[in-house]
């Protein structure tokens, strides 16, 4: 690509969702272009089409004015387009150079000429400031360095356009600065970089131009100099609130769930939750806003002790449940509705009736024997009460639609009578009718005096349901608002990493340390 790459009127449908709705995008040579948007905006899909992973339904792609066909990643690579995915495509056991030449048939013959490849790699590495040692095993490298290996793979294939999908999600601040320096150098080289992100600050810091996507459409393209953070946030999140939930105002009751300075790591040891504290009272919904990947899943799992906790405490009605088993949590009154309804919240091969007692199987027993009668009655009651439709309780749960499965899981957890409910992305992938039904149930649970933690990437949902909203970004709570009177822009800005406390709003509190002694009010 010498001058520009243009994507015109790209349309892409998946079952049930229009991921790209006549999207237009132009990338110039020698620029860093940011693709900004929230979860589900369609930016990843658009880039997967550009990289040849998906085939678009209609539209065209032109490079330097000529139409090109991208049927597979091989086509894209041949045209000089390369992508670094969020999940790296690296073989951990192989060395840097082996990963780089994988799939290439260099030197003509069948032999692997690692020496020559290493030379070329070292040269590229030096020229672009990547600082890579070809012979090191990739699995032993820190994540930031692994990412540079992904970049060198693209440069080795002489990619002129590099796409990076949420590249800073896994990086420390120092690694991030390093990456940005490398990207700027690539730009000087005449290459183009597209960075897919939801982080506004980075867009302002790094990009030349930015395209904002929302609900599958491209809403605007701006040059960085001429747009303000506020404007971009507005473009990113601003939309009419379609649904409205009837929510009564209630004075919250006694504190039920208290989290103190929780620290949780992931498999590689990096901290995903960095000292989070909050408190939820009976009859209150605390929403956690934030784009996927900022530590919410880890937080939810840690609260149930499905994940190792590095530090901090979790208190349920005063009792310290931090280190107790998941089963114990349940018995003491804390339930969890996970985001992955098909692979974690249910066993799709088992019947609806069997799923209805998942987690409470000991309760529906007489001694060692299962009380199948009571279990079936319970399942019947659950299905009726929560409106799980179109399947008998003996058919496999996998046959239920997403909405019905969610109602089943929700019903199951609510009917076990917990004091606290942790709910994660409850309406993801559901149609409007199912969304309304789920909202109704959550509000009813609130009426019944349960303390609910609602983690959601859908601002609309939070504004409708939550009493208070805390924003989570990079493992920390960066701000808390009363839902009444909060604006989407403020929250959206914080979700994108915008500075807290800059924008107006009520009851703003920033960052982690909330001293107890502030009139007993905690976040």
């Amino acid at each position: 690509m010498q001058h520009s790459l243009e994507m015109r009127n790209i349309v892409k449908r998946f079952p049930g969702v229009l991921a790209n709705d006549h999207a237009n995008l132009t990338i110039h040579a020698g620029e860093i272009h940011a693709l900004l948007g929230e979860n589900g905006a369609g930016k990843s899909t658009l880039m997967q089409i550009l990289y040849g992973f998906y085939v678009m339904d209609s539209g065209e792609i032109l490079i330097d004015g000529e139409r090109v066909h991208l049927g597979s990643p091989k086509d894209a690579i041949a045209l000089g387009i390369g992508m670094v995915h969020q999940e790296f495509m690296l073989v951990r056991r192989f060395s840097v150079v082996e990963n780089t030449v994988l799939g290439l048939r260099e030197g003509g013959g069948p032999l692997l000429d690692l020496k020559r490849a290493s030379e070329k790699l070292k040269d590229l590495s030096h020229r672009h400031g990547l600082d890579l040692d070809p012979s090191v095993e990739v699995g032993s490298l820190p994540v930031g360095v692994q990412q540079r290996v992904e970049i060198v793979k693209l440069l080795y294939r002489d990619a002129r356009l590099l796409i990076l999908d949420e590249p800073t999600a896994v990086l420390t601040p120092q690694e991030k600065d390093r990456l940005f320096a490398i990207l700027r150098k690539l730009r000087e080289n005449g290459r183009s970089v597209v960075i897919v992100t939801h982080k506004l600050k980075e867009v302002m810091e790094l990009a030349d131009r930015v395209t904002v996507m929302r609900d599958g459409k491209v809403v605007a393209t701006r040059t960085i100099g001429s747009a303000s953070e506020q404007e971009l946030t507005q473009l990113m999140v601003g939309r009419e609130v379609n649904l409205h939930a009837e929510k009564s105002s209630r004075p919250p009751g006694a504190p039920v769930l208290k989290v103190e300075e929780l620290r949780v790591g992931d498999k590689t040891g990096r901290e995903k939750v960095r000292g989070v504290s909050f408190e939820i009272r009976a009859g209150e919904i605390l929403g956690i806003a934030g784009v996927d990947g900022n530590g919410q899943s880890e937080l939810a799992e840690a609260l149930l002790h499905l994940r190792e906790i590095k530090g901090g405490r979790v208190l349920l009605n005063g009792a310290d449940v931090t280190a107790l088993s998941a089963a114990k949590h349940r018995r003491m009154g804390m339930c969890y509705i996970p985001a992955d309804r098909r692979h974690l919240g249910s066993v799709t091969e088992m019947s609806v009736a069997d799923n209805a007692i998942l987690g409470q199987q000991r309760k529906y027993a007489r001694g060692w024997f299962r009380d199948t009668c009571a279990a079936r009655n319970f399942a019947d009651g659950l299905v009726a009460r929560f409106g799980v439709r179109r399947a008998s309780i003996d058919s496999p749960a996998g046959k239920l639609s997403g909405g019905n499965l969610q109602k089943l899981i929700l019903g199951r957890e609510i009917m076990s009578g917990p004091a606290a409910l942790i709910v994660e992305q409850p309406t993801r992938g559901l149609d409007v009718g199912a969304v309304e039904a789920v909202w109704k149930e959550l509000l009813q649970a609130r009426e019944q005096g349960k303390a609910i933690l609602l983690i959601s990437a859908e601002l609309e949902e939070l504004l409708n349901l939550a009493d208070r909203i805390a924003v989570m970004f990079e493992g920390r709570i960066v701000g808390t608002f009363d839902a009444a009177g909060a604006s989407m822009e403020e929250i959206g800005s914080m979700m994108a990493g915008g500075a807290s406390g800059e924008i107006g709003g009520t009851a703003l509190t920033t960052a982690m340390q909330i001293p107890e002694a502030r009139n007993g009010e905690t976040v």
Partner: protein
Amino acid sequence: MGSAFIVAWLSASLRLAGPVLLAALGETFAEQSGVLNVGIEGTILLGALASFLASYYTGMIWLALLVALLIGVAANLLLAWMYVSLRASQVVAGLVFNVLALGVASTVYRWALGNSALPESIAMFHPLHLGALSNLPLIGPVLFSQTLLFYLTIALAFVAHFVLFRTNFGLALRSSGENPATADSAGISVSRMRYAGTLISGAAAGMAGGYLVLAQVGIFRETIVSGQGFIALGIVIFGRWNPLKAAVAAIVFGACDALQLSLQIFGTHIPPQLLLALPYIVTILAISGLFGGKAVQPAALMTPYVKE
């Protein structure tokens, strides 16, 4: 017990190690591509029969070996199809295949020979005598008086190592077993690599059957293969999926096997079964994860790959 014992023991160790090493070399390719081919036990049996019949009818030992190889490949086409295209459980398909192979081998053997008496001998590979080398004290009889097949197998170990670690094919094969999604995104056909791995293990296992018959036992019995295939699986793991280390592991296995034979002749109080069990126990410990063994196996071993 003096040098005579040592010589007899070491010489037997190498001799016994040969066939299982050959099978293990092929299986290394299968497992590096992500396939656990439990069916090599049955394949060795089929190869043994094929080579026996070929040698019986033609008297040409190299042809017999070739026939064994081809039979091994043909049989594993079925297995590869089940493992890769049908994505059937590899363990199930392999185990059942072993039973099928036993049935086929027994039946074909009886067809071919009917009720006639067993042949006295068939054309075989005989231990070589490499002149002055074979006459060296100690090393001579141990290292330089093995059959040609043995030297061929050792050479193949080096070839296998080279192909796996120094060629594009080897790299692509290993990536299919480590991270098929990455291999796929690099433009490698994971299916093709896994077919290749399985067929290579079939070829080697077939040849190993030929090795057993043509260089060791000299006749065919239905019980000629009793666990060598599973031992080969153990050698692959013991050798950490590396052909050269597998060679060492095979010799260790052979040494334990030979030791209990020799000890029986010389008479000791150590129960021979303990020595026989030792290599298995060591392998179990090696792969138990007690010593971090799990991290070493190809990451996607036994995981079928579904191309999205």
